[in-house]
Subunit: 243 residues, 2 copies
Amino acid sequence: MTYCAALKLDAGLVFASDTRTSAGVDNASQFCKMKIFERPGDRVLVLLSAGNLAITQTTINLLEKHGRTDDGHPTVWSVSSLFDVAGLVGDAMREVKARDGAYLAQNNLEFNVSFLLGGQIAGEEPRLFNLYSEGNFIEATSETPFFQIGETKYGRPILDRIIRPQTSLADAAKCLLVSFDSTMRSNISVGPPIDILRYERDSLSAGHKWRFHKDDPYLVQIHRLWGEGLKKAFADLPEPPTL
Amino acid sequence: MTYCAALKLDAGLVFASDTRTSAGVDNASQFCKMKIFERPGDRVLVLLSAGNLAITQTTINLLEKHGRTDDGHPTVWSVSSLFDVAGLVGDAMREVKARDGAYLAQNNLEFNVSFLLGGQIAGEEPRLFNLYSEGNFIEATSETPFFQIGETKYGRPILDRIIRPQTSLADAAKCLLVSFDSTMRSNISVGPPIDILRYERDSLSAGHKWRFHKDDPYLVQIHRLWGEGLKKAFADLPEPPTL
């Protein structure tokens, strides 16, 4: 399993991904699920991936390979809109499906993959897309300012309650860490380290990607304080009147 | 969808179930998913059900019908252990599957059903079982004092953090309402009213089943205060140091 989430806020974008992959619980590994395409001053593109690792890696490799080819075809480096980048990611996913899909199906393996794509290209607003395994996609709006992929449910209630378009990037990063903490507590197939990237609107620079290891002092502190805060909030609730 | 949860605590058992059923979002109805078999002083059996409503209702009808038949076969009223009741529920599920399974399969419908069975029979401790659609089952222990069925994930983190065998029945009921509140916030296929039953250990009496309607003052209060408490707990967390 995997857990990735991305938020589109007035102040910019925030991305988070775990790093655990597993082919059964007896075969767990660590892979970064956050891929960054950056040309400072021109574009920052961030891809978070969930699903079959062979599919996600091959999709990203195709995007990179096409981006190095100078044959006039549109690439992640040449198109002028994030909408077109989403189309290119979808095309690459379909290219992988055309090559591998039938072989996966022979072993009853679904073509299971999803991506979150966010970023900004000079001349556009920051944008955020959620790509399905079919290669089509939807875009985040102010009514729905975040997307999640992978193991989404445990960590969703806190995002629903806290995240608004006005939320600051720092608060958003903090909220994502709480969301990941809740998820890792309930699902061992999601695990640290956690990668967090904060993109400031109009900076056109990826800035610093922060990696929170299991024993990172801040992550440990958040884990403890959030558990205590929840218990206190719970204790402060009135007793059921008649039970 | 459905959400049901049951807790096995030192002080007794607490059960909760929502009442929303849906065959597609354009066909939502209200059904109680908590069935009680009670003979005061001798036994209290509580069944919570999730899955295909035709299957769960038929299973319960068969248990009732067999219970009215005095042909010497074991019934929910005659067996002396909750383990044997779990076996009878599994038998009834398999009886329904033998009758309806092939017809469901013709329309590509899974035999989708699960039950939580808890209660106490005189001479035994209170016990709690989780029955799978195959009719087999597991029992709750002090390491795992609760079970959930249906839409389990949104409401699980708060149970993981609060519920211990030592938790009081009142706190457990409160925690279940918070868990249902979080679930209903994120999944519209789980809905009020919510039924809560508190069973006091060794009482051998079902006591009062409480129904919390959507506009129940306590439910509304819990919803508001829990939201505020979470926001405060979140605000009290330190900012990420370097983001």
